[in-house]
Amino acid sequence: MSIAQPTSPGPSVVVGCTGIVAESVKRAFGDVRAVDGVTFSAPSGAVTALIGPNGSGKTTLLLVLAGLLRPDAGTARVGGFDIVTENLAARASVGWMPDSFGTWDALTCREILLTFASAYGLSPEAGRRRAASLFEQLHLTEFAERPARVLSRGQKQRLGLARALVHDPCVLLLDEPASGLDPRSRIELRDLLRDLALEGKTVLVSSHVLSELEEVYDHAVFLSKGRTVEATAVDARTAERGWRLDALDPVALRTFLSNAGIPWARSSGGEVIVQLAGTDSAMQLVRAAVAAGVALHTIAPVAGRLEEAYLALDEERK
């Protein structure tokens, strides 16, 4: 699956798409400092996850990067263009998918895409080809001639993604793109984001559902109270975290753990959860279990990397 190139069939070198660079970006609404010092960079050819609790300023930051909000302080460049002094060029190189957006009731999905294609300066012919390939890719072809209002939430979400991609932007800003998508669509979205990154695009994606991002992101930017924060560097070898264990004979596993003096708890699925101090301990436990004849077949961290880092953020929810 790859984004069809409407004008050039093969990959070639693009000039000037240099990802996202934000320096000390601040933006307040009255007294509310929604974004209060955000510094990060998202390189091209990679998926960058934007992570933070509700109200941490993710959406505002994306609005700033989409060229819609003027930062009170700081600078940001997207695709090589300053979002304030080169706003139009910056907007043209960004595909922005907001967390919520509307559709034009009277227009069909195809008309909406064609409208946006022309609003981004594509020729009618290029717009038509682009729309057709996006519909194909996002499984919307059967809805192309239907009014957008009849779409389900997930289908609307896919249409919104198509809209953000219609001008083949070099920077993609996606605000909660997976919300409302069914599991299959989520997996396809993940693959799509990976493909886009492989094509050299800059993909910045925010989500609450960390498991969505877990398998797709290259970098993560953590936001808390409007600031980028450094997640506590977790050393995987020594950091304590929960591990999920399962064996062919669960009773033998529990007996082994009790004998070894390792505290354990039963998870809802009948598996066993233990707290281990990092990968070294896990490796030792596997070795000991196998040596003891326990038919261990599963050992995995309970939480994903992102979740670990997310939960390690100190400034969380007060």
Binding site: L68, S100, S118, A119, G121, H167, C170, A309
Partner: protein, 447 residues
């Protein structure tokens, strides 16, 4: 393990942790093409404008509501027109030709259509910006290469074209009124064009309010209030404020000192001669007396009604060439409400006359049935003598008569002011749509 990109990450590739099944950043790999023509290619102004216009029009044209509204509009105006024509036909006497009613019929329907347009037009734009913002369709348009001028202009153009539909739907009935005669095609065309400009101004006002006020109800109220201000509230204000302009003036009141019967007899001879100038009555007994009167000086505040849409259309309506020299005569003879409105506005703009003619009333001391002329009061307290056809006669009275002409138009001032107002509101809309946003209107979100 995850190394989140730290603040101010220097090297991107250093902080990458490969993810199972997916490739990390490949340093040195050629960046594939993106077809983003990006900064260089420009979206033509008119093309961008038309994208927005088409989008707005599609929303309206594909809704059945528009056609229902147009049908009701057509039927209401048609019903009023036919009723009015029926009333005219019934009320006319055998010797009055149909064309005597032509200007009145045309004027009434023109003002009626204008009034209805002022009621309908605000709905075309009063929600066009805050409504889109609520629907979540504004920000994604602003994020494209469309500029604020293109978005605001496209919306204005769409609303204007919609208003044109309504005016065109009313046009057949306006044309029907001209079958009675006395109306030139030029009059129809000019009135139509001025109304077309007026609705554009209303559209721009609505657009400005919808950009300024976040709540749709608020912008709707303010748009209607603005239209009401121009067409109703300012005239009422003028009425009350005129009392405040009262001043003591010394006025020459001309009275007839002799026997009125003598003058009336002379006047009847004059009438019998076909109003020959040589047979005019003898006014030697008519003398002025100085008298102090408290009178309003509306001429200092008359401009309050200059931007009134009805006044603008009425004053812009062309008159028959013979009527321009004396508006009062024409208005009296034709009953044309447009001429009356224009006359009223012009008379308000003039200072009250310093002479008061009470001599002319002495011409009426006989049996009115025998007389083929009539004395009429004028709006400034004087009097004129008119023949049975409504022509103002020069009686030779020593009191200077004031004739209000339609030779210099006053509507360009009102229309100019209204256009400035509309342009100002359009500018407000453009400013409010310009991204990146500095200050957001209260209570609004970007998306």
């Amino acid at each position: 393990m995850t190394t989140p990109t730290p603040s101010g990450a220097t090297s991107a590739s250093a902080s990458v942790s490969p993810v199972a099944g997916s490739a990390p950043t490949r340093p040195g790999a050629p960046r594939p093409d993106t077809t983003t023509a990006g900064a260089s290619a420009s979206l033509g102004f008119l093309r961008g404008l038309w994208i927005v216009t088409r989008l707005e029009l599609a929303q309206r044209i594909r809704s059945r509501k528009l056609y229902v509204a147009l049908a009701i509009w057509f039927l209401v105006i048609g019903a009023v027109t036919l009723l009015m024509l029926a009333a005219f036909v019934r009320s006319r006497t055998s010797e009055t030709p149909d064309s005597a009613f032509g200007p009145a019929a045309f004027g009434i329907i023109t003002l009626f259509v204008l009034g209805l347009s002022l009621l309908v037009t605000p709905t075309f734009t009063a929600l066009s910006i805050n409504g889109d913002r609520d629907a979540g369709t504004l920000a994604i348009l602003q994020a494209t290469r469309l500029t604020a001028v293109q978005i605001a202009g496209g919306k204005l153009l769409a609303a204007w074209l919609l208003a044109l539909w309504f005016l065109v739907a009313a046009l057949p009935w306006i044309v029907v009124t001209t079958v009675m005669g006395g109306i030139s095609p030029l009059q129809v065309v000019v009135c139509f064009l001025v109304m077309f400009v007026e609705v554009a101004i209303v559209c721009a006002i609505g657009l400005g309010w919808s950009a300024l006020i976040g709540r749709p109800a608020g912008s709707t109220v303010m748009t209607y209030a603005s239209v009401a201000l121009l067409s109703v509230i300012l005239p009422i204000t003028l009425g009350f404020a005129s009392v405040l302009t009262m001043r003591n003036d010394t006025v020459h009141v001309w009275n007839y000192a002799g026997d009125p019967a003598t003058l009336t007899a002379q006047a009847n001879d004059w009438a019998a001669s076909g109003f020959a100038p040589s047979k005019r009555p003898d006014w030697s007994a008519c003398h002025p007396e100085e008298q102090v009167m408290t009178r309003p000086h509306v001429e200092s505040i008359w401009w309050l009604i200059a931007p009134n849409p009805f006044v603008i259309v009425a004053d812009a309506a062309p008159l028959p060439s013979g009527a321009r020299g004396n508006l009062e005569t024409w208005a009296g003879r034709s009953g044309d409400p447009l001429a009356w409105l224009s006359l009223l506005t012009r008379s308000l703009s003039l200072p009250p006359s310093s002479d008061l003619d009470q001599c002319s009333w002495a011409l009426m001391s006989d049996n009115p049935a025998l007389r083929n002329y009539e004395v009429l009061s004028t709006t400034d307290g004087g009097a004129v003598v008119v023949d049975s056809k409504g022509n103002v006669l020069d009686t030779g009275s020593p009191v200077p008569r004031r004739i209000i002409t339609a030779n210099t138009p006053i509507w360009p001032w009102g229309l100019g002011f209204s256009l400035l107002l509309g342009a100002g509101m359009f500018y407000v809309a453009v400013r409010r749509l310009s991204v990146p946003y500095g200050v957001l209107p209260k209570g609004t979100r970007v998306a």
